[in-house]
Symmetry: C2
Subunit: 715 residues, 2 copies
């Protein structure tokens, strides 16, 4: 059993930061935006993680953030050029926690870890080789740092012990002293960038969430998916024909399962691995007609591709002089860092898919997995070193395709295997082949520290229980998707849980107004939509460390074992999701400060405590904070661009308010002001009587809501 310690004294650091000053700290030099500083070391390289992405910081939102200072001094940051590399050191305090530094699947807190941030398939080790090796960390002291280099960066997060440190740990004798630590105390983060210079970006808090928000806003804010993107997605088996897809869609309709997006896998191409990006006529004899038929049913199409170009593609002759020295699966590797390449490829996509209404792509295999990527010895026509291109490739593909859709004033939403710093405004969600359910949830949590989105997509399961548990969690994630490309599974594959899965899929649709507002907060304010508990105010659980036991084989250094909470997360401001995993009959849930209420019943679940829940029904535990408002659409399998009545649920006893976001759901007009924020208010009078009110600003258009029915969930 896990023993958890709750600390509600919590945020002492923040208090200090507030206490010191309310002006920007001069010692860091001039800053472009309140609370953001650039620190240049040596001669930074021309190419960095952001240089190729044409990012515009969200100036207005940044200016609205509270001014803040950094909790560290300029002199705390040590830098040095040496042996052709740039060395950087940041201080760590006792008890300070570090988050971020890549999309990890096993750990949340990173202090004590050593990484090489290297774009790659996740290889089952949290060692920096991952689909989003973002060199951004956020400290519990309330600040964040981006090491803006596209090189492979080495980071020692609180493991290196300097002999000249005033905090150097006392020597202990392993022979005689049972408190001898396998990992002595380290008071620093040490970083090695293999280049003779680098730019650092520092983001002030005062809270961790503020630092993350500044980071996101600086990188252009988060993405706002088209409304359909928040519906239910289903990817069909790779060799499905249009007929097969239509049959599958009909089955969804017949059974009343929601379906917003059909994903087509490699078989839609005439040839794949490498790709032609052209419709296969034997499987899709009338692609435009097929796409139109789907769109008419309210179903968008998302098409799989990878970057590697087949000789059989019409685009081959145009692209071949802009490709790298090596092939992948015998396909040419376009140098996506070149504007020409971006234009040639997106012209081809436009001509063959986008112009006929295809809504987006799943961009596979731009991450690596080493064996099927170009090696780092490859050369590219632009002259970009392979190492930098590898860390940037997914970012560049996201950039190019987003731009293509933006030029059509159409929002896309898709999937990608590789992301890095600066991609948060691009409408792509990460996924991979690692299929550990717990690890998928840990990745969901970690995605919130580094400005990326992640989906724990469902593919197959050994049991109906696993199938249900996976479906229940994916429906609280950025893309609720079943990916049946290889297994041919369907939501109703396990008949004994068909009812429950239909329920959760319908709940996903009901949640769209809430989720859409949550994503608007990401786009406008940089607030991660699905996020770690550690980013919540009043959440201060300590990871438990257990003294290690000596075992010559399993634990020869008697390493301490750290257990941390990595199985619950927030969706927006009000919803706490506590997934269940196969075999789990009960679980602990850490409720942050304040009262929390059961999402389904409105009953009080607890108040700033660790509760043990034994779910009596087939739902996973979901909680709403006191005063929380959750706007819900009706449970419907299909939705279109029209108004629906809104159920406005209120939980708990406190008054509440919710800024309900609305726009046309598909264009970029919202960026020019074509959106409406409806204030949903619940007041509570002295006798505890609640009253709800929806305030639509005068003269503002409402796209999605016809009426506002308040429902007070808690008696």
């Amino acid at each position: 059993m896990r023993k958890l310690t709750l600390l509600f004294a919590a945020i002492g650091f923040v208090m200090t930061a507030y206490g010191q000053s309310s002006v920007t700290s001069k010692e860091w030099g001039s800053n472009e935006y309140a609370g953001i500083w650039k620190l240049s070391v040596g001669t930074p390289e021309k190419i960095n993680l952001l240089s190729e992405l044409d990012i515009t910081p969200k100036k207005e939102a940044l200016e609205q953030m509270p001014e803040s200072i950094l909790p560290i001094s300029r002199s705390d940051v040590k830098t040095e050029l040496r042996d052709g590399k740039t060395y950087i050191s940041f201080p760590l305090e006792k008890g300070e926690k570090i988050f971020g530094l890549g999309l990890h699947f096993k750990t949340v807190e990173q202090r004590g870890r050593i990484m090489r941030l290297h774009m790659d398939h996740y290889g089952e080790n949290d060692n920096g080789r991952t689909h989003a090796p973002v060199p951004f960390f956020v400290s519990s002291r309330g600040y964040g740092v981006l090491i803006n280099s596209a090189r492979y960066i080495d980071v020692w997060v609180g493991t290196a012990v300097r002999k000249d440190s005033p905090n150097a740990p006392e020597e202990k004798d392993r022979n005689a002293d049972p408190s001898w630590p396998a990992q002595p105390y380290s008071d620093n983060i040490e970083i090695l960038v293999p280049a003779t210079g680098v730019e650092l970006l520092l983001f002030a808090g005062p809270t961790m969430l503020d630092a993350v928000r500044r980071y996101n806003l600086y990188n252009g804010g988060g993405t706002l998916p088209p409304r359909w993107g928040l519906g239910f997605w289903h990817r069909t088996p790779t060799l499905f024909s249009d007929r097969d897809v239509k049959d599958e869609v009909a089955e969804f309709e017949k059974r009343g399962f929601p379906l917003s997006v059909i994903g087509l896998e490699p078989g839609w191409h005439t040839k794949a691995y490498p790709c032609t990006y052209e419709w296969d006529k034997s499987r899709f004899p009338d692609a435009p007609g097929f796409v139109k038929e789907m769109l008419d049913k309210g179903i968008e199409l998302n098409l799989w591709m990878n970057p590697y170009v087949s000789k059989h593609s019409e685009v081959y002759n145009r692209i071949k002089s802009y490709t790298g020295s090596h092939t992948v699966w015998s396909g040419e590797v376009p140098d996506y860092s070149m504007p020409e390449v971006q234009r040639i490829m997106t012209d081809h996509f436009r001509k063959h898919q986008v112009d006929m209404g295809v809504s987006g792509y799943k961009m596979d295999e731009n991450d690596g997995y080493d064996s099927w990527l170009w090696p780092d010895v490859a050369t590219f026509p632009s002259g970009i070193p392979a190492e930098q291109l590898r860390n940037l490739y997914g970012s560049l593909m996201q950039y190019a395709t987003t731009k293509m859709y933006r030029e059509q004033n159409k929002r896309t939403y898709g999937q990608v295997r590789a992301a890095n710093a600066g991609t948060n405004s691009y409408p792509y969600v990460l996924y991979n082949d690692y299929y550990d359910h717990k690890g998928f949830i840990t990745a969901l949590i970690n995605s919130s520290f580094i400005g990326v989105l992640w989906t724990p997509e469902v593919r197959s399961s050994k049991t109906s229980e696993e199938w249900l548990r996976r479906m229940q969690t994916v429906c609280f994630s950025p893309i609720a998707q079943l990916n049946a490309w290889a297994d041919g599974t369907k939501p109703w594959t396990f008949p004994d849980v068909e009812k429950e899965i239909k329920e959760i899929a319908l709940l996903r649709i009901q949640l769209i107004p809430y989720l859409y507002s949550v994503f608007a907060d990401y786009a406008f304010y940089g607030t991660p939509p699905v996020r770690a508990m550690n980013l919540e105010n009043g959440y201060a659980i300590e990871a438990e460390t257990e003294q290690g036991k000596l075992d010559a084989t399993e634990n020869p250094y008697a390493m301490a074992i750290r257990r941390e909470v990595k199985d619950q997360f927030m969706v927006g401001e009000n919803i706490l999701v506590a997934p269940l995993f196969t075999g789990q009959k009960e679980r602990k849930v850490v409720l942050p400060q304040g009262k929390w209420y059961d999402f389904y019943t409105g009953k009080l679940a607890g108040e700033g405590e660790v509760i043990t829940v034994k779910p009596t029904d087939s739902n996973i535990p979901v909680y709403v904070k006191d005063g929380g408002i959750i706007p819900l659409w009706p449970a419907m399998a299909k939705f279109t661009d029209r108004q629906y009545p809104l159920e406005v649920r209120h939980y708990g006893t406190k008054p509440g308010t919710f800024s309900l976001y609305d726009d046309d759901g598909s264009s970029y007009d919202y960026e020019k002001g074509a959106f409406t924020r409806i204030d949903l208010n619940v007041t509570v009078d002295k006798k505890g009587r609640k009253k709800g009110k929806a305030i639509v600003p005068k003269g503002k258009k409402v796209w999605s809501f016809s009426e506002y029915n308040f429902r007070f969930m808690t008696e």
Copy 2:
């Protein structure tokens, strides 16, 4: 069941190489030694893998090797400086196999793998992070290459596909073509050295074994351990006192178990982790007396240490200005690349242990395991970059301590956690904490390609079967050791296999004359003592490749599965060992060309074929080649520096000859000629009658043998 394909047409490459020319190939430029060429690319760094080790090539032995050419042309090797790195490419032919490139635990053939050669604890992936990341490979075409850089080198072994290659594979369509390969054919080894220059050393064959021998001889030849080093070793629990050790020794004597070396673990130090290198008086009140008492019993002492210096050590004040910027376990990190450091530390060892007769050390934790090593941002007083020092640290400790013993004209034999190119002449054997029995045997095999030694030491077991199987294999390895530092195990820990274990331990002692000669071949001729089947003439088994099956979770790319033989090995020229692993009731054994005989019975086992053996007794399968001679001492628990009668076993029907090596067993006088080679000859007349003869060169001293009793094992 494994399906194996045997090819006896075998060595076509070698024929070609022989056929072309018998002179050195001019196109490679001048070569210092026949069959060895240096190729300088860019500006090689001052520090490389060999530069700090004071290595003298075995000139005479190199000159005795057949002249040979390289099977590749100079123009096949492509080099380029780019992005601050050195790029190198070697060609690969269809069917060519590549071995080496580090101490791997799971794979033998390396074609198809990607590695970063990086000194480290083995992390359960054959990705180049290992205790001996030696950048040396040997090709089945019959040549070897050393990339002589102490940097972290990236290697793509037949995975990178260049679009300009004449052998570029044909594009295939994964949608329609079942023969689509997850890894298309690659015709090269691509290498990236992160420095603007490097020296390459090329070693001609004609056979792989010849290339390995040239490599070993160039690096000073192999090590010749003192004779006692080939006995049985036992490491006692870490906090054992002299009394405890004496009791343990008495128990060995009482039970009649061989014992040549007692290893003491951290508890002999006053403080450890970091170390004082000084005897703890509470556990060892009279260290000199204790050491003497052991030596008088014919038991040598080997002492554990790691490189990190305690403040409580007498040596601290002398060493502290020669240490790195970081501490490990709060201990100072001596810069072993400095002659001053080598002198200060070995003076300390000499004063406190060596002068009183301690025979050697186990040098732990010089490999890394990342968390307990200095980070690559560390600085050292000599100015050596941390990256280079990390790859060299184990080599330098081996160098310094070997030199210390050499100055006393005394051979040592010990253990070390880190080795690299150029350490083959140092008397150290690698070990680690990974405890997979199969992996340990695979490492034993791989050690032979890269000039290092490995012991699959025994520590603990879950069952008596496992205990027996591990003991049976370690007794055919460079150090037959039980390491009870943490578990307190003894050879007789599992009573039901005590008899069998005593038998194999006694057989180990019997084998010493054979093993000592085998090691002499390593020292004099560079022939690896324990080696891969792949280095044998007439062994040409193909790894079996099985078409991969698509599984979205387990195998999304339908990767082919390669099965290779990695569970049998040669000890010297005549003995083939086929270990058994827990649970194995039968196994396949690949017998190379010619007839092979059962070691125990002398019966014919097979002839150039794959046999299936179901061991009927508790021995593991061991075979001797036709005409093979195995000289054996009597089965005795204790041996001293005196002569013993020799049983000279002959196997099979062919005549045989064996060069039995003998010297004083402990000094370096053999390097000045103080050794004797006794010719053991068995002739077979026309009627098949065998006659044995031992020829001692006139006037030559014999140290270890009193008589020569021939025994013809095969009727």
